[in-house]
Symmetry: C2
Subunit: 500 residues, 2 copies
C-alpha cells in the first residue's frame, strides 16, 4: 500500500519528467517548423519516435496507476491542486489505455503519413490521393471513440475531447442560431460596395514588418523576456511554461493585415499561456483549460479589440511610423473599414469575422455525417462544395481551395473545428462582462492593452486548468453561456459598418 | 552470459536512445541561443537537468558495461564499426565512472554558475569576481585528470581529451617553432603601413548581410536542405546528423568581414558534419574525430581558401551585387589585402591569420602553469598581461580585453585551445597534399568549392570517428605531421602581402 505522501512525491517526479519530455518534443517541433533544414525530418522523426515511446511507458505502467489511485482515493486529505492534477492525468491515462497499443501505434504512423500525403494532395488539388487516408482516419476515430465511451455517439465523444461538455445536442442549436441570424446580414453585406483595402496591399518589406510585429506585441503588453516570435508557414503558439512562450507568424510582402492579425491572434493565445499562476507551472494544470477557451482569448484580441475602431486609432500612427509612404492619407476609419471588409469567400483562415462561423458550421455538419457513417468518403468533396454554395453562396473551383484547405483532418483532429466558433462566442460574452468593470475602449484607443489582459488574467489566465472549464467560463462571463451576445454583436457591428 | 548478437542489438538500442536525447538537448541549447526568450532559462535548465540525469543512467549501469565488454571480448568476430563504437563508448563510460557521481554533479553545478559569473565579470572587467570559480575549476580539472590517469601530468591528460595523442612533449616544440619563425614576421609586418580596410567598415544593413550569407554558403556548395543558419552572440556549429546541421553567425552592421568569415569558418565545420558516411549516422561514429581535426576544416575554408586572392576574386562580384554602393571601385587585390590586414592585437577571435597562433600559445603556457599548480589564481591576470607584452608586444588595458575574454575556462575547458593552432597547421599540410590532386585555385577563383569539399570528404569527412585520428590525419596529409608547412605558408603569404 502506497502512502499519500509517497504518491504525491511520485506524482511530482512523474510530472517533472513528463514536462521535460514535453518541453523537448515541443522545442523539436518548433525548431522543425521555424529553423531546421528540410531534410532534418529524417533525424527528428527518429528522435520523436524514441521520446514518445518513452513518454508512453512513463504513463502506462502499474506504478503510475497506483499513484493516481492513491491520490484520488485520499482526495479529501490532499491539496485540491494535487487532486486536480491526478484527475486530469487519470483521464489521459484512461484514454491511453483504452486504446490497444498496436492500434495506437498504427494510428500514429497513419497520421504522420497522412499529413505528408495531404500536403502533396493539396498542392496538386488531388482529393483522390488523400481519400484513402481520410477514410482510415475516420475509421480509427470512430473506433477510438467507441473504446472511450460506447454509450455515446462517436462524434459526441470527440467533441467532448476538444471542448469539455460540448455535444451535438448543444452545438446544433448554437449553429442553427448563427445560421438563422447571420445569413441575412452576410448576404446583405455582400451586395454593398466593398471598402477600399488597396492601401493594405502595397509592398511592405518583410524586415520592416518584423519591426511592426515587435511594436504590436509591445502594444499588447507582452513581456518579450518571456515570449519570442518566429516565422512559419502557418502561424501557431506553443507555451512550454509561463516564462517561455512562442508565437509564429507568416509575412506576405503585399499584405500588411495578414501577419498583423496573426500576431494579435497568436498574441492572445500567448498571453493566456503567460498568465498562469506560478504554482501551476511544470504541472498539467499550467496552460489553457480547453481549446474553446484558448480560442476565446486569441479571437478576443484579434477581432473584438484588434478589429475595433479604437484600436485602429492606436495602431495607425505606429504603422505609419514604419510605413510612412504606404499609409499616407489613411485615416483610422479607413483602416477600420478595410480590416473589416466582409464577403463570403472560400478559405476559412482568410475569412472575415462575420462569415467565419459559417465556415466552421460547414465543417461541423460534415464531421457529423462522417462520424455517423452517413456519407462515403468519395462523396465528401461534392458535399463540401454544395454546402459552400448553400451556406455562403460561393462556388468552389477546386479541392485545393475546398475540402483540402485545412490541416485538421489529416492530423486526425475531427471534432476540433467547433471550438473556433464557440471561442468566438465566449469572447463576446466576456467582453460584455469586462465592459462593466473596466474602460475597455479607452485602453484600446490608448494602444495599451494591459488593463484588458489584467481582467482576463484574473478571471481566466491565472487559473490554468485547475478550475473546471464550465466554472471558469461562467466566472468570466458572469452568467451561463448565451450565444445571442455573439450574434447581436456581429449584427450590430456589420450593420453599422455597411449601413444596413 | 550475453551473446554477441544480443550485445549488438542492445548497443543499437542504446545508441539510438542516446542520439535521441543528444538531439533533443542539442536543439534545446540551439533554441536557447537563437530563438528562446531570455527567461526561458528557468524551464530549460529544469529540462536539461532531467534529461542529463537520464542519459547518465543510460550509460552508467551494469547492462551497458556488459554489452560493451561482450563486444570488445568478441571483437574478432564483430563488424569493425561495431567494435569501434563499443571502444569509444567504453572510453566515455570509463571517464564517467572514474569520477565519483557527487563530484561530477558538483562540478556541473559549478560550471553553470561559473558561466553566468564569467559573463558578468567580463562585462564589469572584474577578475576578482571570477577568480574563486576559476580556482575551483582548476582544482576539479586536476582531480579529474588524476582519476583518469594518475601516471601522467594532469595537463597531458586534458590535452589528450581534446586532441587524441597531444601532450606537452609534442606541443612544446610545436609552439617553440611557431614563436621562433613567426615572431620576426609579425614584428616586421607591424611596422609596415596598414592596408585600407575602411570600405569593409561602412554600413551594411543586416537584412542584406543575411542575403550575402546565403550566397556565400551557396559558393561553398552547402546543401541548404541539410544545413540552416541562425544568429547568436558567438557563432558556432552543431550537427545532429548529416541531414541536420546548423551554423550560426553574428552580424555587425558596420563590419562586413566579421560575419562573412564566421559563416565560412562555421561552414567548414558544417561540411565536415554533413560529409559523414550514411552508415555512421545515429551512432557515436558520426561527426568529427577530434577538435583539432574539426578546426582544421573550419580554418581551412576560412583562411586558406576564404582569405586567398583567388577566392576574393570570386567573392567580390557577389558582394558587389548586394552592396553596389559600398563596394564601388574595390578590386579583388584590395579586398585580399583588407581581409588579411595583420597587426598584433588584444582579442583572439578578432585576430588575423598570422598572429592567431600567438594568442593560442599564451593560453597554452598559462594552462601548463595552472595545471602544474605553479601559479596562484590571483597572479594569472598579471601573467596574462606580461605574456601579451612579451609575445605580441601589446599592452592589455583591462581584464575584459585580457584574461576574461574567452569563454573556455568558465566552461571548464582547459586544454582545448591548442586544438585551434594544431587544426590550422594540419590544414596547411592537407592543402599541400590536395594541390597535388586537384586544381584548388581554379575552384576557388570560380567560386565553387565543391571539388575541394569532395577531396576533404574522401580523405576525412566520410570517415567520421571510425578511423583513429592519427590514421585519418596521415591519410589526408600524405605524410606525418610537420608544422613547417604551416610556418612556411604564413611566412610566404605575409612576406608577399607586406613586401618584406
Amino acid at each position: 500500500m502506497m502512502t499519500l505522501n509517497t504518491a504525491i512525491e511520485k506524482l511530482n517526479t512523474l510530472e517533472e519528467t513528463q514536462r521535460a519530455y514535453g518541453h523537448a518534443m515541443g522545442v523539436l517541433n518548433l525548431d522543425g517548423a521555424t529553423a531546421a533544414p528540410k531534410r532534418s525530418i529524417v533525424g527528428r522523426s527518429k528522435t520523436m519516435g524514441v521520446l514518445s515511446g518513452i513518454t508512453y511507458q512513463l504513463m502506462v505502467n502499474d506504478e503510475t496507476a497506483e499513484v493516481l489511485a492513491t491520490i484520488l482515493e485520499n482526495a479529501a486529505e490532499a491539496d485540491p491542486k494535487v487532486v486536480r492534477r491526478a484527475e486530469l492525468l487519470k483521464e489521459s491515462l484512461d484514454d491511453m489505455t483504452r486504446i490497444p497499443m498496436e492500434e495506437f501505434v498504427e494510428y500514429q504512423t497513419l497520421i504522420s503519413q497522412a499529413d505528408a500525403v495531404w500536403h502533396e494532395a493539396k498542392e496538386k488539388s488531388d482529393y483522390a490521393m488523400f481519400a484513402p487516408y481520410l477514410e482510415k482516419i475516420i475509421h480509427f476515430n470512430r473506433r477510438f471513440a467507441g473504446y472511450k465511451n460506447a454509450d455515446k455517439p462517436a462524434y459526441d465523444v470527440l467533441l467532448d475531447d476538444y471542448e469539455k461538455g460540448a455535444s451535438m445536442a448543444s452545438l446544433d442549436p448554437f449553429f442553427a442560431l448563427l445560421r438563422e441570424k447571420l445569413t441575412p446580414v452576410i448576404l446583405e453585406v455582400a451586395k454593398r460596395p466593398a471598402p477600399d483595402a488597396s492601401f493594405l496591399r502595397q509592398s511592405f518589406p518583410i524586415h520592416q514588418q518584423r519591426v511592426f510585429s515587435d511594436r504590436v506585441m509591445a502594444m499588447m503588453g507582452m513581456d518579450r523576456e518571456r515570449c519570442a516570435i518566429g516565422e512559419t508557414e502557418h502561424p501557431f503558439t506553443d507555451g512550454f511554461n509561463k516564462w517561455d512562450v512562442r508565437i509564429t507568424t507568416h509575412y506576405h510582402e503585399n499584405d500588411l493585415a495578414s501577419s498583423l492579425y496573426s500576431v494579435i491572434h497568436e498574441g492572445g493565445h500567448a498571453l493566456y499561456e503567460m498568465g498562469g499562476a506560478d504554482e501551476l507551472q511544470f504541472t498539467c494544470l499550467a496552460g489553457g483549460a480547453t481549446m474553446g477557451l484558448h480560442e476565446s482569448q486569441s479571437r478576443f484580441y484579434e477581432n473584438l479589440i484588434g478589429r475595433s475602431l479604437p484600436f485602429c486609432k492606436a495602431l495607425l500612427p505606429v504603422a505609419r511610423e514604419i510605413f510612412p509612404a504606404q499609409l499616407e492619407g489613411v485615416t483610422p476609419e479607413m483602416l477600420y473599414a478595410a480590416v473589416n471588409a466582409s464577403k463570403p469567400s472560400l478559405i476559412r483562415t482568410e475569412s472575415d469575422e462575420l462569415t467565419y462561423a459559417h465556415h466552421i458550421m460547414i465543417r461541423y455538419e460534415m464531421e457529423k455525417l462522417m462520424m455517423a457513417g452517413d456519407v462515403k468518403v468519395d462523396e465528401l468533396p461534392a458535399l463540401w462544395n454544395k454546402m459552400y454554395k448553400d451556406y455562403l453562396g460561393v462556388d468552389v473551383p477546386d479541392d485545393r481551395r475546398g475540402i483540402l484547405q485545412d490541416t485538421h483532418w489529416s492530423g486526425g483532429m475531427i471534432g476540433y473545428f467547433p471550438s473556433y466558433a464557440l471561442g468566438s462566442a465566449y469572447g463576446v460574452q466576456m467582453l460584455s462582462a469586462m465592459e462593466k468593470d473596466i474602460d475597455v475602449w479607452a485602453a484600446a484607443e490608448k494602444g495599451d492593452l494591459t488593463p484588458i489582459t489584467a481582467w482576463l488574467g484574473e478571471k481566466i489566465h491565472r487559473h490554468g486548468s485547475f478550475l473546471k472549464p464550465n466554472v471558469l467560463l461562467e466566472q468570466a462571463m458572469g452568467q451561463p453561456f448565451d450565444p445571442n451576445y455573439y450574434v447581436d454583436y456581429l449584427v450590430k457591428k456589420f450593420s453599422k459598418l455597411y449601413n444596413l
